[in-house]
Symmetry: C2
């Protein structure tokens, strides 16, 4: 049945008639051990079903080969999927690079700072990944103090993009592509439905629309996120009928769905609308959307932390403080 005591490196050494260290070498640096010895040891390992104790190794090496990621609260809205896909992709890429992923949740900033301390001092993780960082983020500050490597999913808006290592989605490129698509396919009156100013992400997405529109004029609507909000604004816009509208680029799928519902209700079911995030909801309804590709972000983050090839996290404060922008992809439906 179950082996009560799992085999240790010592057991293998005895069985194979060699020393601990030789067994260790067979496992970690097979190149430096003589072929005959290596085979002997491998047989013993197989025999005893030995697997190295990761905890002991970590203690000795003072490295955990683990990264910590915060899970943000499930907000219930349409978004949030992006982050989940990110975590998932990160886990897959991390596995293939020999890293483990430890997730944690924290309700308050104080909790999170405490948790970060524990992870850092306890030697639990070699690096931490933050999401949604702002300029002068206290978490980033704390991590820097502790000398713990970290990177963020999201730009530290306003920091001249170089406050700490980050990877983000190029929202402007996404809305620009969406706008150009509608300009080519629907007509030149492409409106923008976004959020109130000063939200970083929102401004970025609006920027892409503006860039693509150039001198053309079209309404720019702003409201809080949400299906009902989007529906209301677009209903008013269409009922007013002052300006022609050939298409609408939206800052989120929630807004896009609202816009779509309003358009259908107003008798314009084929009004071209593009959302942002490419959520299941947009797919189900058949609305075009900008897909964020959080998988790329995950790759990028690991690259910042580990270099493009390595399997180890760089020690000390990250030398590279630059950021990396991932270009999203327009999904046309």
């Amino acid at each position: 049945m179950a082996e009560q005591r799992v085999a240790t490196i010592e057991d293998v050494a005895r069985e194979a008639g060699v020393s601990r260290q030789t067994v260790s070498n067979v496992v970690n640096r097979p190149g430096i051990v003589k072929e005959a010895t290596r085979r002997k040891v491998l047989v013993a390992i197989e025999e005893l079903g030995y697997a190295p104790n990761a905890v002991a190794r970590r203690l000795r090496q003072r490295r955990s080969s683990t990264i910590g990621v915060k899970l943000d609260a499930y907000s219930g809205g349409i978004s949030g999927v992006v982050l989940d896909r990110f975590v998932h992709a990160l886990t897959e890429h991390a596995s293939s690079r020999g890293l483990r992923v430890l997730v944690y949740a924290a309700r308050t900033l104080a909790d999170e700072l405490g948790y970060i301390n524990g992870l850092a001092d306890g030697g639990e993780v070699d690096a931490i990944i933050l999401t949604g960082t702002a300029l002068g983020d206290p978490r980033a500050e704390r991590l820097r103090e502790r000398g713990m490597p970290f990177a963020a999913f999201g730009r530290p808006w306003g920091a001249g993009d170089a406050d700490h290592p980050w990877v983000d989605i190029d929202g402007a490129a996404g809305t620009r592509a969406a706008t150009e698509h509608l300009l080519a396919r629907a007509g030149e009156h492409v409106a923008f439905l976004g959020w109130p100013p000063d939200s970083g992400t929102g401004d970025d997405r609006e920027r892409g629309w503006r860039a693509a529109m150039g001198d053309r004029a079209a309404p720019r609507l702003a409201t809080l996120d949400g299906v009902n909000e989007g529906r209301r604004l677009v209903r008013e816009l269409l009922e007013r009928g002052e300006t022609p509208v050939d298409g609408i680029v939206c800052a989120s799928d929630a807004l896009a769905i609202g816009a779509h519902l309003a358009a259908v209700r107003a008798g314009r079911p084929d009004l071209q609308i593009v959302g942002f995030d490419n959520t299941a909801a947009a797919e189900a309804i058949g609305i075009s959307s900008v897909e964020q590709l959080p998988e790329r972000v995950a790759e990028g983050i690991l690259e910042l932390l580990m270099g493009s090839e390595g399997t180890e996290i760089r020690r000390g404060p990250a030398p590279q403080t630059a950021g990396l922008l991932v270009e999203p992809r327009l999904i046309v439906r």
Copy 2:
């Protein structure tokens, strides 16, 4: 800035003029140490910014206070948002019980078995949580052999519900509630739109509908999951018009959305439809749905593994092989 070497228990002991063990006691069993000593040590801890090294503790205690959870890829089974919410809730509850959560991804069964071995032997985790287990699941088998505690989100269908510890959503209770709701609100012709037989989860959900319908007759449609599939079947049903339809209970939100789109197209936009999973898509469109409450599942799983109060995972094979059903909640829109 950064303290190059983090303080160890030895440093604290020296600073406070006591022995290692006393410091350890202050941290872990404050009750047994004299008040004056305790204060002295706490001052030293504060002074040096000491935090215990979790890795060393784990090695000595031969316990990791960590549970492993597999992240499924996005498709099939307990998919998407439900699983993400589950992982999130699990993380929160685990934190409050002093556990960490390690996530892993595996593309193939062989990969997963290998990973499980590593986690188990390496002492990385004290327990593992599986999702989507079947009768005689090789992963469960392996874990039992290894003597590693585990529990599953999902029933081992067909095992008489007692193959290993599990927690699951009571799908039948959900569809029953949905059906009763429609019977009371829409009329007595409540159809069911589900999946082909023998899918465990699907049969369960159909069972709830049957139970609520009793002797009443109504169409039962089955197809693969997906918006387009649902739309097609419902369009055909409504076009045929042989039987009156007052409402439709669906086995998934994807099917429900398809049904809704077909109903709108067929000129019956107010046909009552209930989905399953309460996804953001259903919420956005305004379709009622059965909400799975994965948070409760997370609680239940921890309870199976740790008992209702403890902060430690039970050693050895779980004594309790029973399962636990969580009743879902109908969200009416």
